[in-house]
Amino acid sequence: MTDSINEQFGQIYDQYIDKIYRFVYVKVDSQEVAEDITSKVFTKGWESYQNQSSEIKNPGAFLYQIARNAVVDHYRDKGRTKTVSVDVSPDIADPGTNAQDMAILSADVSNIKKAMQKLEKDHQDILIWHYLEDVPIADIAKLLNRPAGTVRVMLHRGLKDLKNIIQES
């Protein structure tokens, strides 16, 4: 039984470690903080999973909820505002764009991340889930417990706000 739960959570971990880390990383100012919070998310997730594995129908939603709370706790504990410095620029490349666009986009990753952190929390979450994790609107609606139409509007508004923040910077 114990081995079975270990195995199950091990699979959930493998499936979500990258997603949760990304979700957290975009919202905080450094790799160290992202690792620390992600670690707390999975530790807390594992503790809960051992006691109520049968009640957790959607492990993704379950972990994202813990992650959202953990990020809120992080900023509350540190007494920080959401305007934070970005000291780490991820070494990433986008195969879907041409060379000129890629150069522009790579150089602006830090700025986009910084701008993302100025967005409302729900807008951040929706943009991350939809564009980074390819989560359909309907599923995001379930994650946020809101109508799909509302989520669609929030997605559009979040994108617009992000664009404005970037252009104003």
């Binding site: 270990n6 470690i17 975009v26 992600t38 530790t43 991340k113 564009y131 980074l132 994790e133 994108l159």
Partner: protein, 242 residues
Amino acid sequence: MTKITQKQLIESLKQFKEIKPRKEWAVLLKSQILTEKETVIVSVPAKRINFMDAIASVFSQRKLAYSFAVVLFLIVGVFGFAQHTVPGDLLFPVRKVAEQSQAALTGQSGLKQSVANLNNRINDLVQVAKEGKKANIPSAIDEIKTDASYLTKSLKSSKTENSQTIKDIVSSLKTLADVPGTDLTATPAIKGLYQAVVQSQIVDLQETTLADEQKETLSQAIELYNQGKYTEALEKILLIGK
């Protein structure tokens, strides 16, 4: 960046898909989390231990240690005291257990152990007689009879007895015979032991090359043996050895 299209912005956001945690960190975290369960279970009671519990625990452990030390002291004391007991004393059975344990630890054979036991019991009788502990004499004699019977059985069943063992038995029997006021040679147990010793010696001597005089003495010993005069037969056999 002053101007950015929505398409560029979405493409920029999608770049974040490439962000991944350090592989070694992710592997380490997984193993830490999944093996933490046992640690958590073990550490939960520890977290609940307050100062008073810790003090109580120390005293409890000390109490246990003291109890163990007292028990150990008593055991050592009882065994030590029992070494000076004689048959009929309350702690004499403890001494016998200690002797048997010692024999088992030193790997003594059954025959040698029986010889040693009989020798010890005869020495006990000597001591009891010397110290005038009349109340202990019957018990000492009973112990000798019991051990003599065991030794007789061991001697008859053993095919490896050597001359030294026989000498030791003869020596013990001589010591027993010299104890004043306790002639046990007529008792079945001691008589049986004499018979077994003499029989063993006769068999050995018959297979040995003897001088004419020794042969004559052996014939006399056999005759005495056949008459049931085992002590006298043993005296004759001892003459052959000289």
